[in-house]
C-alpha cells in the first residue's frame, strides 16, 4: 500500500473520524477503568491487539463467510482474541486481571470492534483492514489516556501510581468525584466538547 494512503488513513481514524468523539462508539467497556492510568494503558493495549487482529482475520475470511451468519462469525473471531488476552493476563499479571474484573471480557461487545469489522474489514484486503483496526484503536486509546490522566491526577494526586508534586500536597484538595463514576461522564463530555468544537471551527475556516 502506498505510503500517502497509510498517512491518510491514520489521519482519518485518529482525528476526523475518531472512534470516541467522532463516532461515539465503544465507550462503555473502557470508561470504567479510566480512573487509573495504568489500568487504562493495559486495557488500551488489549483493545489494540484485539481490534488489529480481529480486523485482519475477518478480512482474510471475508470471501468464505456466508453473508447471513457473518455477525456470528465476527463475534466468535473477536471472542477468540479476547480469550487469548484474558488467559495471558491471568497467567502473568493476576492482580491486574482481578482489578480489571469483567471489563476485559466486555471487549467482545465493545461496539467499536464490531463496527470496524462491519465497516472496513468486510470489504478490504487484510493489510488495509489491519491498519484500519490499529489506527482506530490508537485513536481510541489516546482519548482515553487523556481522560485517565486528568482523572488520576485531579482525583488522587498521582500519575501511574507516583505522587505528582503539587497535586499530592496539602495545597490541593483532592477531587474525589473525579475517581467516582460521575467524574468519568463529565470528563468524557468535556473532551468530546473540546475536540468537536475544534473540528467545527476548522471546518468553517476551510469553507
Amino acid at each position: 500500500m502506498a505510503k500517502s494512503q497509510t498517512k491518510e488513513l491514520a489521519l482519518e481514524d485518529l482525528w476526523s473520524n475518531n472512534p470516541v468523539f467522532g463516532q461515539v462508539l465503544g465507550i462503555c467497556s473502557t470508561l470504567a477503568v479510566t480512573n487509573l492510568v495504568l489500568n487504562t494503558t493495559v486495557m488500551c493495549a488489549a483493545l489494540i491487539f484485539t481490534l488489529s487482529f480481529s480486523s485482519m482475520s475477518v478480512s482474510v475470511l471475508r470471501k468464505f463467510t456466508p453473508r447471513n451468519i457473518r455477525m456470528m462469525v465476527e463475534t466468535l473471531i473477536i471472542a477468540f482474541y479476547v480469550i487469548i488476552v484474558d488467559v495471558i493476563l491471568k497467567a502473568y499479571w493476576p492482580q491486574m486481571s482481578e482489578s480489571l474484573g469483567p471489563y476485559v471480557g466486555l471487549i467482545i461487545t465493545n461496539c467499536i470492534v464490531m463496527g470496524r469489522c462491519e465497516a472496513c474489514a468486510n470489504s478490504n484486503p487484510p493489510a488495509r483492514a489491519m491498519l484500519d483496526g490499529f489506527f482506530n484503536a490508537l485513536g481510541y486509546s489516546f482519548v482515553l489516556l487523556i481522560i485517565a490522566t486528568f482523572r488520576e491526577v485531579l482525583g488522587m494526586g498521582t500519575f501511574l501510581g507516583f505522587a505528582v508534586p503539587y497535586f499530592s500536597s496539602s495545597y490541593w484538595d483532592k477531587w474525589i468525584i473525579m475517581v467516582m463514576p460521575p467524574g468519568a461522564f463529565f470528563m468524557l463530555a468535556i473532551v468530546v466538547w473540546i475536540f468537536r468544537s475544534i473540528q467545527i471551527a476548522s471546518q468553517e475556516k476551510t469553507k
Partner: protein
Amino acid sequence: MNITPQITQAFIVCISAIFTQNILLSYFLGLCPFIGCSREVRSSVGLGLAVIFVMTCTCALNWILYHFVLEPLHLEFFRFIMFIIIIAAFVQFVEMVIDRFSPYLYQRLGVFLPLITVNCAILGACLFMVIRNYSFIVTVGYGLGSGIGWFLAIVAMANIRGKLANDLIPKGLQGPGITLIIAGIMALAFIGFTGVLAGQ
C-alpha cells in the same frame, strides 16, 4: 438447604442493582444504546422493557450452563464465547416467539431486540454474576434488578432530552456531549442512594 435467607439476599441484591450500583451509571455498561436510542420516550420504554426481560432470562440460563456444563468440564475460560452465543440465540428465539404469538408486542419491541445482542450490559451482568459467585436465586434477582436499573436510567434520560429539545446548546456539545453531562448529573444523584442498604 434453607431457602429464606437466599431470597432475602436476592431481594437486597436486586434493590442495590437498581439504585446503589446501577449497571449503567456506576459500571458504564450499555452506554452505546443509551446515547443512541434515548431521543424518544416511547422507543426508550420499549428498549428498556426488552432489556429487563432478556437480562433476567439470560442471566439465569447462563448460570445454569456455567455451573452444570463448564465447571465440571474445567472449561471456564470458554465462558465468553458461551455467554455471547446464548445471548444471541436467546434474543433470536424470543424474536421468533413474539413475532408468532403477539404481533402487537412485536411491533413495539421488534426493532429493539436485535440491538440487545450487542448491548454490553447483558454480557456484563452475566460476567459479574460469575465473578461475584452468586447462587441461582440471587442471580435471578441480580438480573432483574440490573434490567430495571437500566430501564429507569434510559427512560429518565429520554424524558430529560425531550425537555431539552428546543434549548440552545453550544454546537460542539450537541448530541453525545450534552447526554454525557446529563448522565454524569444522574450518576451524582444516584450516589445519594449509597447507604440506603445496610449490610451490603
